[in-house]
């Protein structure tokens, strides 16, 4: 056998995770979340292996930013519906952290803005940029889940659906951000969520261990997680289309018309910007219908079937 030495590429080292030990049903759910297409969307692997630029991450960030300010709203909605003080306390712990405690006075929205501005976003642009339908869908779905579904479904969406999913997804995003030239400080929002959310995940796991005492309760938690991840999958698809459309605007029409060999055409144009989105959230709080048609539960669940 001949041996040829080839220059070595340094692998990107992923952070160690230290999650608490789980009971079998939760461990199974955690594995299901880890393997879900929403957590393993090809966009995330593409960000990891491809050569995306700050301009691409700028598009990505402007679409992703509205999610930052809405997680606390989902939590607040769920907190109202928590059936006991103990459960309220678990949720409140996460909520306080999400409000910005432990981030040296900088809440998540400020950290995210720092990321956006480091990529050349002009102040105000984050409010006026049209958001793709997938962003509106994602947020509308979660508002609905937290308001209308049983409490444990909501907990499944925000716990396993978010806290277990986010560190895994962000681990894939960070090497691409590094490669595009972003410093640790500029991308702190992402790094923080690979560290901090492990704590959140552990708090959530503790709560779920106690609440998931029977099959029905466990099924509700699982359903919530899968609904959230189904929406997450559609969200990443929408973001990818936005990134592609920046460089090749003509592709938008081709995809809408289903000309490129794929089966599902894109949804219509943007329902509105972040300001309009937050107005819709307020209106929704007051009882108005969500202005964008939401995918059905079966559409969200079929992603993982």
């Amino acid at each position: 056998m001949s041996t040829i030495l080839i220059e070595k590429e340094e692998p990107v080292i992923e952070a160690e995770e230290t999650e608490m030990e789980l009971s079998p049903w939760l461990a199974e759910l955690r594995d299901e979340v880890a393997a879900h297409p929403g957590v393993n969307h090809l966009l995330l692997s593409r960000l990891r292996t491809g050569r995306y630029t700050k301009g691409d991450y700028r598009v990505f960030g402007l679409q992703h930013y509205p999610m930052v300010g809405t997680f606390t709203r989902y939590m607040e909605l769920l907190l109202l519906r928590a059936p006991s003080s103990e459960q309220k306390l678990w949720l409140a712990k996460v909520l306080v952290d999400e409000y910005g405690e432990g981030s040296d006075g900088e809440d998540h929205a400020s950290l995210y803005l720092k990321y956006l501005y480091s990529m050349g976003v002009e102040p105000g642009e984050e409010e006026s940029t049209p958001l793709c339908t997938a962003v509106w869908e994602f947020i509308g779905n979660h508002l609905r889940i937290c308001r209308e579904e049983p409490f444990l479904v909501g907990l499944g969406a925000l716990g396993p659906g978010h806290e277990w999913a986010i560190p895994k997804m962000f681990h894939k995003i960070i090497p691409g951000l590094e490669r595009a030239g972003m410093s640790y400080d500029d991308r702190l929002y992402f790094d923080l969520h690979t560290e901090q959310d492990i704590d959140h995940a552990n708090w959530m796991s503790e709560a779920l261990e106690q609440l998931g005492q029977d099959d029905e309760a466990r099924a509700q938690v699982r359903r919530g997680a899968l609904l959230s991840l189904g929406a997450r999958f559609r969200f990443w698809t929408g973001i990818e289309r936005c990134v592609v459309a920046r460089r090749q605007p003509h592709s938008v029409d081709a995809v809408r018309r289903g000309l490129l060999g794929r089966r599902r055409p894109d949804r219509e144009e943007s329902p509105g910007n972040r300001q309009e989105l937050f107005q819709a959230i307020q209106d929704n709080w007051s009882g108005k219908d969500w202005p964008v048609r939401l995918p059905s539960d079966s559409e969200l669940l079929e992603v993982s079937q």
Partner: protein
């Protein structure tokens, strides 16, 4: 073992390119290696060019393959890596990930990542078969030293095992497992020829053009499938159209005469498309006519240029006169010509005009103008490495200038992007009423695909005709200085900084 083979998408979902608007053929490399192991193992193929993005993680999670294999050229290298990264992300260390194809064969060092367990160097059938047997037999996935034709990480370095011999007669390989593509039946196409099968009847090329890596991949050897085997495979195809994937089908007239004998004897009624050189067309007019009568409908040729000097510098070993004569002969025979021409980075305004005028004069049915570039693994690449403005694999798609242009880049792309409009006359004069009247059955066969291709062509043209598309792609990636010069200047800066400190 459960084995999943994946054809990656050429680029991100939703992007328009030649691969999804003009020409998409079956993943022949995957069906070829699948056939070697499918009797003993469960094999699936997914074609991500035709699937929604959720399909890959869904199949990975439900099928739980023990091995995921991906093939790639240069432009889809990162997409192939993303597939394998996704597989490791979902299945962890329990899945073995394998990468093969032209790009990893020619530059394996560019694929040395922790989520790629091994790279198949060169022709895949035997290497894949041995690797699968090793893994299925409980062999150590980290000890692959005994299998020829692999590159993998061992300790701190990537190593290559002994070279795999590429001398096996093509008839001794099993026929490709095309049935694994049943889910995609009817979706492969070339222009209006939808519902297209693909067969490879030879491997390698006897010529050594300096911009092409085919002869390097196959070490300048050419092997052929027998006429009988080709005809057998043609008969097995249900599709009305067949694309012969050979890089140079038009070689050895005797073999092609024998193929025509088989087609006539068996009364095979298929329309087929090939890639071949213009000198062969000129030297074998009667054979071209006979092949036309046996179903040949399209010849894709690298015309490359309109001037003799450039043909020589490309080591094409062909002449401008042959190009002109071949174009006329094919038109006279009512065989569609797809002609590939190169715009060179050192083109000035008049060079573009001259090239477009020459194409119109030749009456090429489907002219394609690409940008000359040193493709990884070619002689041209080795000679021009220091001039490269980028090493980003996506830009080696023949649609971007990866070395400095003589014209300002904006003007270069403006003139380049005009090729579609500027060669319209060529298409119009080639696809004359006479041409179509002589092949009414072919026109009828293509009719179902005409509307769809018309729409695809429209969106492709919009993308290709817009110079901003190319410039947007370059944004933040391609600078004014070649990569080598940038590195040298960074190195000097570091040294200077060191001295100062």
């Amino acid at each position: 073992m459960r084995i999943l083979l994946v054809q990656p998408a050429p680029f991100e979902c939703g992007r328009i390119g030649l691969e999804n608007a003009l020409w998409m053929s079956e993943p022949g490399a995957l069906t070829a290696i699948a056939a070697c192991v499918e009797d003993e193992h469960e094999v699936r193929i997914i074609d991500m060019r035709l699937e929604e993005a959720d399909v890959l993680p869904r199949v990975l999670a439900s099928f739980k393959p023990d091995l995921v294999g991906v093939t790639c050229m240069t432009t889809d290298a990162y997409q192939a890596q993303a597939v394998l990264h996704c597989a490791k992300s979902i299945l962890g260390e329990q899945v073995f990930t394998l990468l093969g194809g032209h790009h990893p064969t020619l530059v394996p060092g560019e694929h040395d990542y922790e989520y790629i367990d091994a790279i198949c160097i060169g022709e895949g059938e035997d290497t894949f078969t041995e690797l699968v047997a090793h893994l299925a037999g409980g062999g150590d996935p980290n000890d692959l030293h005994a299998i020829d034709g692999l590159a993998f990480r061992s300790g701190d370095a990537q190593i290559q095992t002994s070279k795999r011999s590429q001398a096996r007669e093509l008839d001794t390989f099993p026929a490709p497992a095309r049935h694994l593509l049943d889910a995609y039946k009817g979706q492969y196409f070339f222009a209006s020829a939808i519902n297209m099968a693909a067969i490879q009847t030879s491997r390698g090329c006897a010529f050594d053009c300096n911009f092409c890596a085919i002869w390097e991949f196959y070490e300048k050897k050419v092997r052929f499938l027998s006429s009988k085997a080709i005809a057998d495979r043609m008969e097995e195809c249900e599709e009305p159209f067949i694309f012969f994937l050979d890089d140079n089908f038009l070689t050895r007239p005797k073999r092609l005469e024998e193929l025509c004998d088989e087609i006539e004897r068996r009364n095979i009624k298929k329309y087929w498309m090939i890639q071949g050189r213009t000198d062969f067309v000129v030297e074998n007019p009667e054979l071209m006519k006979r092949m036309r009568d046996c179903g040949l409908m399209m010849v894709l040729s690298g015309f490359e240029t309109n001037d003799a000097g450039t043909l020589e510098s490309l080591k094409k070993d062909n002449t401008r006169e042959n190009n002109l004569k071949a174009a006329k002969l094919l038109n006279d025979l009512s065989i569609i010509t797809t002609g590939i021409f190169m715009a060179h980075p050192d083109f000035e305004a008049q060079d573009f005009e001259d090239l477009y005028a020459a194409i119109n004069e030749m009456k090429i049915t489907i002219p394609l103008v690409v940008i000359h570039m040193p493709l990884p693994g070619t002689q041209s690449w080795r000679e021009n490495k220091d001039s490269l403005l980028t090493e980003d694999a996506r830009f080696f798609d023949l649609l971007h200038a990866v070395v400095p242009t003589k014209l300002p880049r904006r003007e270069f792309y403006e003139r380049y992007a005009a090729w579609n409009e500027s060669t319209e006359a060529s298409i119009d004069s080639s696809l004359s009423m006479r041409f179509m009247a002589r092949r009414p059955r072919l026109m009828m066969a293509m009719r179902p695909g005409m509307k769809l291709f018309g729409e695809r062509r429209e969106v492709l043209r919009k993308a290709l005709n817009d110079p901003e598309n190319y410039l947007r792609d370059e944004d933040e990636i391609i600078g004014e200085l070649p990569i080598a010069a940038q590195r040298a200047s960074e190195s000097v800066a570091r040294e200077t900084e060191g001295v100062t400190v």
